[in-house]
Amino acid sequence: MKTAVMKTRPFAKKRTSRTFFHYNLMVGIGLLWLIFFNIVPMFGIIIAFEDYNPIQGLWGSEFVGLEHFEYLFSMSDSRRVIVNTLVIAVSKLILNIIVPLAFALLLNEVRQLRFKKFVQTIVYLPHFLSWVILASVLLEIFGYRGVFNALLSVFGVEGKIWFSEESCFRQLVIFSDVWKEFGFNAVIYLAALTGISPDLYEAAAIDGCGRLKAVWHITLPGIASTIVVMAILGLGNVLNAGFDQIFNLYSPLVYSTGDILDTWVYRMGLLNVQFSLATAAGLFKSAISFLLIVISYVVAYKAADYRIF
């Protein structure tokens, strides 16, 4: 390659060294940012392996090996937290594929273009609002004096503070996340749908193929690879149940069903001052996620020929 380039251009050598210099310059600024703000803080991971004492600092604290990890796994708390995390994250993963897909298919059936455009624009809306804001609104709507209870009272159902109910919290979290993201997640499917040739549908219609059948035999196979890729990429997020969302919605009343790894780490580290234990739990999560991401990318590459880097 390189020799080929040199052969074709007389000034190649001079040019390459100058280009190399400028490339370095280009990388330089970004790299500084990366080093100072991504990599330097990363050394803090060693806290997980020591009995961190703030006065002695990162490098002076006593080294205790895997003690914090051992304890982490012996706690019945951690079992609960991991179960919650998995239940919430996996449900979100699945529903965040199915619901947007269904929505995209249905929206695709809408023939009035202006209405379609309008719907599409509006359903993106929640995606752009922060959980701080949405949580404040949702807690209001599902609160004791909220709209939801007012609606229920019409049917004679007793009102509750819904986000404080152990038995409802998970469902509400999953539901509200799916609701927030379905419009935005549908973008990809909608775009993939436009890639299917209309000729296929026409041919199907001529063959007397019903709407459902057409969806089953033409639409779904047409966007199957997209669905597979989305599902596989989601795997890497199995331990991300959504800190921002849950942190803004939960309360001690629902720890038993709503506490996830990230919120637990937050409380352990910042409210219970167990710096080392929290860092250990965070590292555990990073490690598992790392593994899952590697697996999912390999699978994505093998199964759908999709490569991210």
Binding site: T19, I39, L58, V110, I122, I133, L139, L253, A278, G282
Partner: protein, 294 residues
């Protein structure tokens, strides 16, 4: 047969339209509800009477906000952070991504750098080491801190690199033959060709900056340095009436003013609502190009 089919079609159409309407309304409702609360009478808002439309029309909340210095300060901090932060981030990313998008034969350190970048995407040290580092840099209460503290948005960087890599090779080669330097190629050829992805990243980045609250809280020594979301986060106090202590009972009368809070939340929603419809056509293509390559 045909008769039944068209009838079925019609029914399906109607139901589908209704369903779409319901979904659309459900996405609009929080916005509408907040707006109604904000222009309702304080008493009506607090007692939970407002559901579908404003009750006891009153602009008192907005008048009160007009006099609320802290709210404006936070709004300005967020605005500055979003605009500056997005500019800086996109500029750095646009430049940073270019050498990394070249084949390693042209820029040899590329592979090492890519591994570093990917590693940074997957690991982080957690909040505490991160905070200690920020304190050591002296970034408490500073705009630079609010903009830089999150580190390089690595995922966005990778999207951009992927996009650059997908640009037609002939385009760059033609420019090279014309004797253009790397900077010229980047700014005259690569960036103009990457408008969809850059617009998408502008949207993602600005939404990220505007909606961020946690760093804003941790890196500020007091309320006057809070970005808007942090301000709202601590304003909406989740008072648990079941856990009464003497102190709290005395404060029960001072329960927060829902109408005023709603007005603040509503104003915080506006910038994003205004911006995203304009960038819509870009992010649809941008997401497709960056995420799913066939």
């Amino acid at each position: 047969m045909i008769q039944g089919k068209t009838l079925g079609n019609r029914i399906f159409r109607i139901f589908n339209t209704i369903l779409m309407l319901i979904l659309t309304l459900s996405c609009l409702y929080p916005l509408w509800y907040t707006f109604c609360l904000s222009i309702s009478d304080k008493a009506a808002a607090n007692s939970g009477m407002v559901t579908l439309y404003p009750i006891g029309f009153s602009l008192a909340s907005y008048q009160e906000i007009m006099g609320d210095l802290q709210f404006f300060r936070s709004f300005l901090i967020s605005a500055e952070r979003t605009v500056l932060g997005t500019l800086v981030t996109i500029l750095i990313l646009a430049i940073f991504a270019y050498p990394l998008s070249r084949p390693s034969s042209e820029y040899r350190p590329k592979n090492v750098l890519m591994w570093l970048v990917v590693f940074c995407m997957l690991f982080n040290g957690g909040t505490i080491p991160w905070y200690i580092t920020m304190v050591n840099y002296g970034l408490i209460d500073s705009m630079a801190g609010l903009i830089l503290c999150g580190g390089v948005p690595v995922f966005n960087l990778i999207l951009l690199i992927n996009f650059y890599r997908g640009l037609p090779r002939e385009l760059l080669e033609a420019a090279q033959i014309d004797g253009a330097g790397v900077w010229t190629i980047l700014f005259r050829v690569v960036i103009p060709c990457s408008v969809p992805i850059l617009a998408t990243l502008v949207l993602f980045t600005s939404v990220g900056y505007w909606n961020e609250y946690f760093q804003g809280l941790v890196l500020s020594s007091n309320e006057s340095h809070y970005p808007l979301q942090t301000y709202i986060k601590q304003m909406v106090v989740n008072i648990q009436t079941t856990n009464l202590s003497m102190d709290q009972i005395e404060k029960m009368d001072k329960l927060s003013n829902k109408s005023l809070n709603a007005a603040k939340v509503f104003i915080a929603m506006i910038p994003m609502l205004v911006v995203y419809p304009f960038l819509q056509k870009y992010f649809i293509t941008g997401i497709m190009l960056g995420a799913v390559k066939e």
